[in-house]
Amino acid sequence: MAVNTSTLIILVLVYLACIFYLARMGYRQSSQTDGYMLAGRKVHPAVMALSYGAAFISTSAIIGFGGVAASLGMGLLWLVFMNIFFGIFIAFVVFGPKTRRMGLNLGAVTFPEFLGRRFQSRFIQGFSGLLIGVFMPLYAGSVLIGAARFIETTLGINYNLALLIFTIIIASYVIKGGLLSVMYVDALQGTLMFIGMAFLLIFTYVELGGVVGAHQTLTDMAPLVPQGLADIGHQGWTAMPSFGSPLWWTMVSTLFLGVGIGVLAQPQLAVRFMTVKDDRSLKRAVLVGGPFILMMAGVAYVVGALSNVYFYRTTGKIALEVAGGNTDLIMPEYLNSAMPELFVMFFMLSLLSAAMSTSGAQFHAMGTAIGHDFYQEGVKKGKSKGTTIHATRFGIAISILFSVVLAYILPISIIARATAMFMGLCTSAFLPIYMGALFWKRITREGAVASLVVGSFGSLFWLTFVHGKEAVPLGICQAIFGKATLLSGTWPLVDPILIATPLAFLVAFVVSLATKPMPEKFLDKCYSLRPQDEDEDALEQSAHKNADPASV
């Protein structure tokens, strides 16, 4: 991007100084295991919500999906609604309080440990840790590549050097300071992202003739949709694709289900529920979380779609044509040509923040999964000599190295699919047993083990051998069976999440009913309330309002 590099470098240095100051503040309070792994369990609700949101929204969600919206239109706003409703409201109000209480009752400090202790199974903890440790680096690798490419183009630094610098900066505060440092830094980054996106939205609407004026112009541009897109169902940027068309199916199945609901079972997000001191903090966090997601994803999609109006006015072409068919280039192109230079620089910091906060959360989640869950609890059966913090630090270092190596050796076609692959895998593997752990007392250890294994391998099988988007670039099916995918027809279009997740739910249900329930006493311990929880519940009942469906 064409901005004054020396001014930008000064801005970045000031930004980094602020980050290290906050990281240091977090580190000084993180000497205990709970502090390092769970930020001390008394994080402010606003910090928790910003950290959750900033970890959730990466640069690719802004640049990548913004570009997709420029191509496909505002139908993507359904995804924003799903993200706010499921990803924030349901997650914070229904899943959050139960996760927090149960995590505290069982003394769990990570998401795999939460599952392992809830089902009294080291296998579940070790296997979940391994699953996260092996597959999250793929997702982390894709975020690293995106960030390094971004730094390369904005600061003019060599790509390999950019990757190295970016990784070292994040690794230093994640390894040293633990989750509290990560969350403090996230809060700053989330704030910068919020301001950047708010300005982008206001500027775009003012520039293009107000909310209704801008939308109306975009609606009137429907006849300009390229023939190739119109043939698969595109009916304009302010209209849904025609019902049942290939484009409609892609939008509905992959985007809405995969990314919208998938967020509920993300280990790096779920662990944040255990960082606050009470249920009310989670409910308060909704105040910040909802608007945050609206301002990130919502603004990216609206501005992405509206960039067509801007480009048509200034160049006579639609956004996709201006970017030469590459949707990833649409948002940077729009920012550069439409926004004032000072804003472009500030917005770059926002994007850098989006990448750093997602990477930081991933590094911490991978490290704790490998160091604590897989190695200390799974392999050493809890008899390891080192402390949890040491094992985790080692785990973080190993998994960062693994991510960087993956980022270098894997073909770009796989990396591009990594986020969807990981989210799909998490949903199939973890969502059924996570929901069972929270809401169904009858689920048994055997049911959970069977569901975890079936969900994980079912998802992996489907994406390796059937789902075209992964099976074709992976090439494993081609090498073994001599054809690109095992099934043909519409099957290769069906997302693994739609196959493996229902299967895992079914297995959990059937196997649990066929096996002996978990001991009543243990369940009482899992679901027990502490004095302050009881106070909260009593207060709510007496108020006769805001009935909380999550309270035990």
Partner: protein, 54 residues
């Protein structure tokens, strides 16, 4: 509505804004309600109580 003809799109647009506003209202109500209780807890914290099980 809002310059968008397709109800499926303007509905999504409106729902996004309303759900975010709903989050603000929900959070604010809990924020206010909690303040009174926190004051009570300061008093309670002087008297230790054993963990109560359901």
């Amino acid at each position: 509505m809002l310059g968008i003809d397709d109800p499926q799109i303007w509905l999504a647009y409106v729902l996004c804004v309303l759900s975010a506003l709903g989050c603000v209202v929900y959070g604010a109500l809990n924020w206010k309600e909690g303040e009174e209780e926190e004051e009570e807890q300061v008093v309670k914290s002087n008297t230790s109580r054993p963990a109560v099980q359901e």
